[in-house]
């Protein structure tokens, strides 16, 4: 945390070495974060680039009251939402989205079953409101704390906690109807 603030200060002075350190530390996190919004590798990489360029340009305006992670992921969220709006809904190739580990180890029957399960979960997530879907991804996929999410979404921590709680209840209900929840 302390290092990150130092890096941001150095980046604000135009230090490329500090930018590289910040990039190596944050690129995988932004990438994963963007994937949860876009579910597409090349779009997610563009979001990483655009976010880090924005960090380079606006490091001087970073207010040290917020966590570095929340500030950077807040920028990434805006970039990902812009990208998602621009992309609208393009047809996705199921094969491209399959888990590599799964396809290497699993039997064809297991792959088909998993594929069906993945599709059901995606469909269930799509049935949530955008606000509920977003907090579910931030909490359950990106593993962010409630305070980080509150800063990223610019809302009180209590709102984040109750939103995740109700979103999870809603998801449980939808998945339960499809027999996903044990």
């Amino acid at each position: 945390m302390h290092d990150e603030i130092t890096w941001i200060r150095q980046v604000a002075q135009g230090d490329e070495g500090a930018f590289e350190k910040l990039f190596r530390c944050y690129a995988p996190r932004i990438f994963r974060f963007a994937l949860s919004y876009l579910n597409d590798r090349s779009y997610a990489e563009e979001v990483v680039q655009e976010t880090m360029i924005a960090v380079w340009k606006s490091a001087k305006s970073y207010k040290e009251q917020s966590q570095v992670s929340s500030w950077i992921l807040g920028i990434a969220r805006n970039k990902a939402l812009d990208r998602a709006r621009a992309r609208q809904r393009e047809p996705e190739l199921l094969q491209e989205r399959l888990d590599r580990r799964m396809s290497m180890r699993a039997t064809p029957e297991q792959i088909v079953r998993r594929e069906t399960q993945v599709e059901r979960v995606r469909a269930a997530l799509d049935r949530l409101s955008p606000e509920h879907r977003e907090v579910i991804m931030l909490a359950f996929y990106n593993d962010l704390s409630y305070s980080e999410i509150a800063q990223i979404l610019n809302c009180p921590e209590g709102t984040v906690k109750s939103r995740v709680y109700y979103a999870k209840e809603q998801l449980k209900k939808i998945l339960g109807a499809g027999g996903e929840i044990v």
Binding site: E16, F19, E20, F23, R24, A27, P28, F31, R32, L35, S36, N39, D40, R41, A44, E45, V48, Q49, M52, I53, W56, E96, R97, L98, D99, R100, R101, M102, R114, Q117, V118, V121, R122, L125, I136, M137, A139, F140, Y141, D143, L144, S145, Y146, E148, K161, S162, V164, Y165, K168, L171, K172, L175, E180, I181, V182
Partner: protein, 124 residues
């Protein structure tokens, strides 16, 4: 024994599952879980949902290696473009000022001369 869980504790379960609670919160949740079957069941459900959600996203753990180089190149290219644009703007501004000055001088000289004559005439 039936136990009524505080909503506040139940709302912490997702954050217990993703490992981001503070030490103090984690201990409170664990103390509660030890005696509450309902919350233990809910935690299992949350963990299961978490696994399913992870499955729903394309599984690409890392961005490509050359992404840093591409990003730095874009920053440099943007800065080169900004410097070139700025230089051009400074040149254009200088040029315009020069032209304005020259035109102003040419136009103003006879007027200043006329004003001088008028001043002299009034003094007389």
């Amino acid at each position: 024994m039936r136990f009524r869980c505080a909503q506040e504790l139940r709302e912490l379960l997702p954050w217990y599952a993703n490992g981001t609670l503070t030490e103090e919160e984690r201990r409170r949740v664990e103390t509660h879980l030890a005696r509450c079957e309902r919350c233990r069941r809910e935690l299992r459900e949350i963990q299961h949902i978490k696994e399913l959600v992870a499955l729903s996203v394309e599984s690409v753990p890392e961005p490509s290696e050359e992404l840093l180089a591409r990003t730095v190149e874009r920053i440099h290219s943007h800065e080169r473009h900004t410097i070139a644009q700025l230089s051009w703007q400074i040149f254009a501004l200088g040029f315009s000022l020069g032209v304005l000055y020259e035109r102003g001088r040419v136009k103003l000289e006879p007027e200043i001369e006329a004003l001088g004559w008028e001043l002299k005439r009034r003094r007389r």
